[in-house]
Symmetry: C2
Subunit: 688 residues, 2 copies
C-alpha cells in the first residue's frame, strides 16, 4: 500500500549514517559521549518508589555526573573548565535519554543556580562559590518564581534591603504570595540559594536583583529566618525535590549581591552599567536563556525517542486482514497511521535543524564569539519561539506515539508514559509557552513599527501600496501572491506548484506579515488613547497575535529545515528529505487552510486538492519512515522500550509458523459453513 | 474586559441550581448518592505508593463499594438487584470523582467479568456464578484481548475445543501472541476468568465464544495449566493489577460455555440462535457496549472536573498589570485564556447532553424497554462516536487545564496530573478511538448505500440531481446551501446569519454527507474489482472517512445540545446556554474552516469574519464562565484540588493589604528615577 506513483527511479534507501552525523549538529562528540553515558544503568531511575526515595536516587545520580566532570565543560578556564557553552548544553540535553529528572535536577544545580552566579556575579563571586557548586558541596536553589508571580518576574514581592549600619542586605518575604515556589533542591537538598528580590537601597527600589543566600546547615536544617515547605508529589519529575522557601529578615553580607548589572558600593551607593531599569531587568533575565535553549533540545530529543519507538512498532505490528486472507497488514501501511506519524517525523526534522541554529547562536553569544545586543535579542526571541513549539510538540508526539502503540504504549516498560509525565511541565516552566509566544509577537510588532518608524519615503510608499493591495484584495478576493505561482485548470498541477520552496516560503511568511500588519494598524489607531483603551485593543488581538507568533516560529523552523538540506551530501537522501521538508510546509498550509482561503492566498481548487496531495506525499515517504527514525541514532538500549526491539516481530513469526504447520497438517479446523439463507446476515458489517 | 456589546438587558446570572439538575440526567438520585459516597476518604487513593501497594488499597476500596451494595443496581431481581442499567451506569461513572483506578477495578469485576456472565450466559449461569461475583468471593478477569490481537478480536488465537469423550472444553494458548494481555485482576486478585476463544466443535471453528474458567485457588496460586505474567507499572491506573494469562490444555465442563448465542448439547452438537457467524460475533461483542457507554460518562465528568478547577483558579489568579498600575488582571480576562477555556466549556456541555442520550438509549436496550436490532445498532454507533470524542476531549481538556494553572496545575495536590495519567488509557481501551471512528464511518457508508440500494425512482432522481449540483458547485464555486442563509455586503451581518441553528445544522451535516457521498462514489467505482484493489481505495480514503466520522459525532453532540436547551426553564439561563451552543457550533466551523471555504459552503467574507465573531461570543460568555462550571455541581470537597478553593484569592488579599498599608505609611520605597537620556532604553520592550 505504500504506493509511490509519480516518480521513476526512487531512492532505494537513505544514508542513515551520514544523515545521523548531520543531525548531531556542531558538537557531535559531546552528544556521542553523553549517549554512551546514558547507557549506564546507574543513571536509570526507578519510578516505582515514593517520591521521597526517587529524590534520593536522583541526587546520587547527579553525583555520578559530577564524578564524570560533565559540569566543567561550560565554565571558564580559571575554574578548570573548557568554556564551551554549546558543547555543555549539547551534552546536557542528551540527559533526557537517561532520565528527565536527572536532567532537571542537574540543570537546577549547574544550569540555573550555577549559571546565575556565573552570569550575574563577578569573578570574585565565581571563585568564592562556583567550585563548591560544581563539586556539589553546595547543592543550590534558583529562587526566582514566587507563589504569586511566575511569568511576571518583575512584580515579585521578596525584598532585599541594604542596611548601611551593618553593610548587609536583609532578605525578607512580606506575605505568603511572595514565598518562593516550585524550586528544585528547595525541599531537601539545597544548602544555598540565589534569591531574586526587589533591591531597596536608601529608600529606592532598583528592581529585581539576585543575591546568594545560604539556607541550610550541614545537617540539612534551615538556617535562622529561613523556612519552607515541600511541594510534594508532582505529575512527573519526582526525582526533583521541589519546594517553597521564605525568609524572615535574613541578613547576608553586601558581597553576596551578584553585582554584574547592579552594585552597591561601600558607601551604600547603587550603580549599574545599564541606566534604564527596564533594560537592566531584561538584560539580567536574558542571561538565563540557557534553560530555554536546553529545554528545546531536550524536547526535540523526546520527539525522536517517541517516534523511534512508535515507528519501529508500527513497522512490525499487524492488525486486520485487509487485502489478504492470510497476512495481516502492518499498522504503518494504514493511511491514518501514516497521517499520525509521518508529519510528526517531518516536524521533528524541522525542529532538529531549528534547534541547531538556536544552539549555534547561544554558543556565539555565551562564548563571546558574538555577544552584541542584537544577537542577544535574536537569541532570546528564537529561544522563546522554539522552546514553546518543541515542548508542546513533545507532549503531542509522545501522546500520539502512546496511542499509536495501543495498550503496549501505556506500559511503563515501553517508556513513553513516564517520559510524557516528566516532560509535561516543560510547557510552562522556564517561561510559560503562551507567554513566550506573546513575547515573540511583541517582538514582531516592534520590528514592524521600527521598520515603519525609520522608513524613508521609498519604504513608506511601498508600505502604503502594499496595504492598498491588501485592502483591495480583501474586498475583491484577488490573490496577492500571483507572482509566486499561477493557478491552472488542472487541480493536480496547480497543487504541484506548492512544491516550489519559494511558494511555500512566501505563503508562510505572508500569513505572519499580514496578521502583524493588521494588528499594528489597530494598535496605531489607539496609540494616543488611554492605557486601558490600548490594553483593550491589544487584548482583543491577543489570540491572533499568538497565532502569528506560532506561524512565525514555524516559518523559522521551515527555513532551518531548508537550510539544513544543504548539509546533506547523498543525492537520494537529499531527495527524500526534500519531500519531508515539503510535507512540513504543506502540512502547515493544511493546518491553516481556512486562513489561506479566506484571505485569497490559495484558490478553492488548490484548497480542495491539498489534502490528497499531502496524502500522496506521506505515502511516498512511508517506505523511508523507518530509516528516517533510524537516522536519529537511538538504539534500543538507549530507548529502553521493549517494543522498540524485535519482540513483536518474533511473536508474529511464531504464530505464522504455528498456522502454517497447522494448515500443512490437515488438522486445521474448518470454517463454519455459511448459512444457505439468512437475509440479515452481514448486512451491517460495520465492525472492522 | 469582559465586554458585552451587542445585547441590552443581558441576563445577570444563570440559574445554577436548576441547570445543575438538568445536567444530572435521568437518574439524578443515583448520581447524587454516588457523589456523597465519593466524599468518603477511604475511597481516596494514595498515589505515593509502589504499584503493588496501590493495588491492594484499591482492592480494599472495591470491598467498600460491595458493602454499599452498589453492584446490585444493575442485575435482575432474581439476584437481589433492581435491574436498572441506567442508574447502575450513572453511579458507576461518578466513581471517577473518587478515583479512576477504583472505577476501573470495580468495572472489571462487575461491568466486564460480571456483565459477560449476565449477557452471554443463561439464567443457570447467573445463579451459579453471579452471587460470588457480586459479593467479591470470586474476583474475576475479562480475558478477551491478546498480545497479538486487540482491535481485531475476531482473530484471537486462543482455542476452546470440545472433547466429546469427557464432555469438556479444552482451553489452549497455542503461541505467545495468543496470551491474554492487559487484563485487570489478572496479575494478582483474579480467581476466575471469562475467556474468549475460538470454539472448535467436531473439527469446525464456530468463531469466538466465551467460557467461564477458574484460574487461581484460594491461596492465590494458579491452577494447573494456567500461567501468567504481571504487566507491571503503567502510565496510570496503577490501582488495577493488569496482567497476562495463558492456558495449557485447561479443561472445563461443557456447562462453562456461556451459551446464550452459541451452545453445545450433550450430543456434542453446536447450535446458535444466530445463523450467520459474522452476525453472531457482532451480537455477542455488542452486548459488552456498557464499557464504552460508561467510559464516555466518566470522561465527560473528568472534563467537568478539569474545567471547574481551571476556571475557579482563572477567576482568582492575577498576573501582569495591563490597564491598571495597582491591580493586576485576572487570567480569565485575557482573551487567550478565554479562548483556551470557554470553548471547552461549550464542548463539555455538548458532551453532557450527548451522553444523556447515549445513556438513555443504553437503558432502553438493556432494560428491555426497546431492545430491537435497530436500536442496538444505533446504541453501538452512538457509543463508538461519543466514547472516542469524549475520551480524547478529556485528555485535551485536562492538559489545557493543567497548563492554564501553570506550575500549580502540575502539583499532585491539585489533582489534574493524576487524573490525566489515569484517563490516558481511556482513549484506547474498550475500543481504540481511531478504530471506533472507523466503525462509525463504515456505518455511515452502509446507511448511505442502503438508502441508495432501496431507493425508489424519486430518491434516485433526487440523488442524481444532488450529485450534479455538487459537481457543478465544485467547478464553479457556487454554494449549495444558499437556501439556508444569504450573504450580504456587511461582514458582521453575514456572519450573524450563522447564529441561526438551522444554518449551523445544515453546515455541519453537509460536511459529513459530502465526504461520505464522495467516498461512496469512489468505492462504487471499484465494487467489482479485486479485494486488494478495493482495500487500496478504502485505505486511500481512510483519513477523510475518519474526519467524516468525527464531524458526524460532533453533529450529534450539537443536536443533543440543541435538544437539551428545551429542558431549561429559566429564560436567562436558556439565553446564555443558547450562546454556548452557538459557540460550540461556530467553533466547529472555525476548526474546519478550510473545508467550508474550499467547498464553497462559506464565502471568503464570512470566513474572515468568523474568528472575530467567535471572539466576541466568547467575551460575551466570559461573565458566566464561573456559573457555568458551578452548575456541574462539583464542590471543592469533591474536586480535592487546593486551587479549586479560595487559597489564591486569600493570598492576594493578604498581599493587597500589605501594599495598601505600605503606601499609606509613607515608607514605600520610591521607584528608581527614569534616566534623563538613554537612547536604547525600552525600545525593545519585547517582554510582557
Amino acid at each position: 500500500m505504500a504506493r509511490v506513483s509519480e516518480d521513476a527511479a526512487l531512492p532505494t534507501h537513505i544514508d542513515v549514517a551520514g544523515l545521523g552525523e548531520v543531525l548531531l549538529g556542531r558538537w557531535p562528540e559531546a552528544r556521542k559521549a553523553a549517549r554512551e553515558r546514558a547507557l549506564d544503568p546507574r543513571l536509570h531511575s526507578n519510578h516505582n518508589l515514593t517520591f521521597e526515595d526517587q529524590r534520593e536516587l536522583t541526587f546520587e545520580q547527579v553525583k555520578i555526573l559530577r564524578d564524570a566532570g560533565t559540569a566543567l565543560v561550560g565554565v571558564p578556564e580559571y575554574l578548570g573548565g573548557s568554556n564551551s557553552p554549546g558543547a555543555n548544553v549539547s551534552a546536557f540535553e542528551e540527559l533526557v535519554l537517561a532520565d528527565p529528572s536527572l536532567q532537571i535536577k542537574s540543570g537546577v544545580q549547574w544550569g540555573l543556580f550555577g549559571s546565575a552566579v556565573l552570569n550575574l556575579g563577578s569573578k570574585e563571586h565565581h571563585l568564592e562559590w562556583l567550585p563548591d557548586i560544581l563539586n556539589l558541596n553546595t547543592p543550590g536553589v534558583f529562587a526566582m518564581t514566587e507563589i504569586g508571580h511566575g511569568s511576571d518576574v518583575a512584580s515579585i514581592g521578596t525584598t532585599a534591603t541594604y542596611l548601611p549600619e551593618s553593610d548587609e542586605f536583609e532578605i525578607h518575604t512580606p506575605f505568603k504570595a511572595a514565598w518562593k515556589d516550585y524550586l528544585g533542591n528547595a525541599a531537601v537538598h539545597g544548602k544555598a540559594a540565589v534569591v531574586f528580590a526587589q533591591l531597596i537601597v536608601k529608600g529606592v527600589n532598583h528592581g529585581v536583583h539576585c543575591l546568594y543566600v545560604p539556607i541550610r546547615n550541614d545537617n540539612g536544617e534551615f538556617l535562622p529566618g529561613v523556612g519552607g515547605e515541600d511541594d510534594g508529589r508532582k505529575g512527573g519529575l519526582n526525582g526533583v525535590d521541589n519546594g517553597r522557601l521564605h525568609f524572615t529578615n535574613v541578613r547576608v553580607p553586601r558581597f553576596n549581591l551578584l553585582n554584574k548589572y547592579g552594585a552597591v558600593d561601600e558607601n551604600g551607593e547603587y550603580s549599574s552599567p545599564i541606566v534604564s531599569p527596564g533594560r537592566r531587568f531584561f538584560t539580567m533575565i536574558g542571561t538565563l536563556v540557557q534553560g530555554r535553549v536546553s529545554l528545546d533540545g531536550a524536547a526535540v530529543l523526546a520527539n525522536q525517542m517517541a517516534l523511534s519507538i512508535a515507528v519501529r512498532y508500527a513497522e512490525q505490528r499487524r492488525q486486520f486482514n485487509t487485502d489478504s486472507d492470510i497476512r495481516e497488514q502492518t499498522l504503518l501501511d494504514y493511511q491514518q497511521h501514516q497521517r499520525r506519524l509521518i508529519p510528526r517525523i517531518a516536524e521533528t526534522y524541522a525542529m532538529i535543524f531549528a534547534h541547531q541554529q538556536l544552539l549555534d547562536k547561544f554558543h556565539e553569544v555565551f562564548s563571546g564569539e558574538d555577544d552584541s545586543d542584537g544577537n542577544r535579542q535574536d537569541l532570546e526571541t528564537l529561544a522563546a519561539a522554539f522552546k514553546s513549539m518543541s515542548t508542546w510538540s513533545a507532549l503531542d508526539t509522545l501522546q500520539e506515539a502512546r496511542e499509536a502503540c495501543g495498550g503496549a504504549g501505556f506500559m511503563a516498560k515501553n517508556r513513553i508514559p513516564q517520559l510524557r509525565a516528566d516532560l509535561d511541565i516543560y510547557a510552562t516552566f522556564e517561561g510559560d509557552n503562551t507567554v513566550l509566544l506573546q513575547l515573540v509577537a511583541k517582538r514582531l510588532l516592534t520590528d514592524y513599527s521600527d521598520e515603519f518608524k525609520n522608513a524613508d519615503v521609498g519604504v513608506m510608499a511601498r508600505y502604503v501600496a502594499d496595504r492598498a493591495t491588501e485592502a483591495g484584495f480583501n474586498r475583491s478576493g484577488l490573490r496577492k501572491l500571483t507572482q509566486a505561482f499561477t493557478d491552472t485548470g488542472d487541480a493536480r498541477k496547480s497543487v504541484n506548484a506548492l512544491r516550489d520552496p519559494e511558494a511555500q516560503r512566501a505563503l508562510l511568511m505572508d500569513r505572519v506579515e499580514t496578521i502583524i500588519e493588521d494588528v499594528a494598524d489597530e494598535m496605531r489607531a489607539v496609540a494616543r488613547k488611554s492605557k486601558s483603551e490600548k490594553a483593550e485593543v491589544f487584548n482583543n488581538n491577543q489570540h491572533r497575535l499568538i497565532e502569528a507568533a506560532r506561524s512565525h516560529a514555524q516559518l523559522l523552523q521551515w527555513e532551518a529545515f531548508t537550510e539544513g538540506l544543504e548539509k546533506i551530501q547523498d543525492p537520494g537522501t537529499k531527495r527524500v528529505l526534500t519531500w519531508l521538508r515539503d510535507l512540513f510546509g504543506l502540512h502547515l498550509l493544511e493546518e491553516n487552510l481556512g486562513w489561506y482561503l479566506a484571505y485569497g492566498r490559495l484558490s478553492m481548487r488548490r484548497g480542495r486538492a491539498l489534502e490528497s496531495y499531502v496524502n500522496r506525499l506521506i505515502a511516498r515517504l512511508r517506505p523511508y519512515a523507518l530509516q528516517l527514525v533510524d537516522s536519529f541514532g537511538l538504539s534500543p538500549e538507549l530507548l529502553r522500550a521493549e517494543i522498540a526491539g524485535t519482540v513483536e516481530e518474533e511473536r508474529q513469526q511464531e504464530a505464522d509458523t504455528y498456522f502454517r504447520r497447522l494448515r500443512a497438517s490437515g488438522d486445521a479446523p474448518a470454517k463454519e459453513a455459511k448459512p444457505a439463507r439468512d437475509p440479515k446476515a452481514e448486512t451491517r458489517g460495520h465492525h472492522a
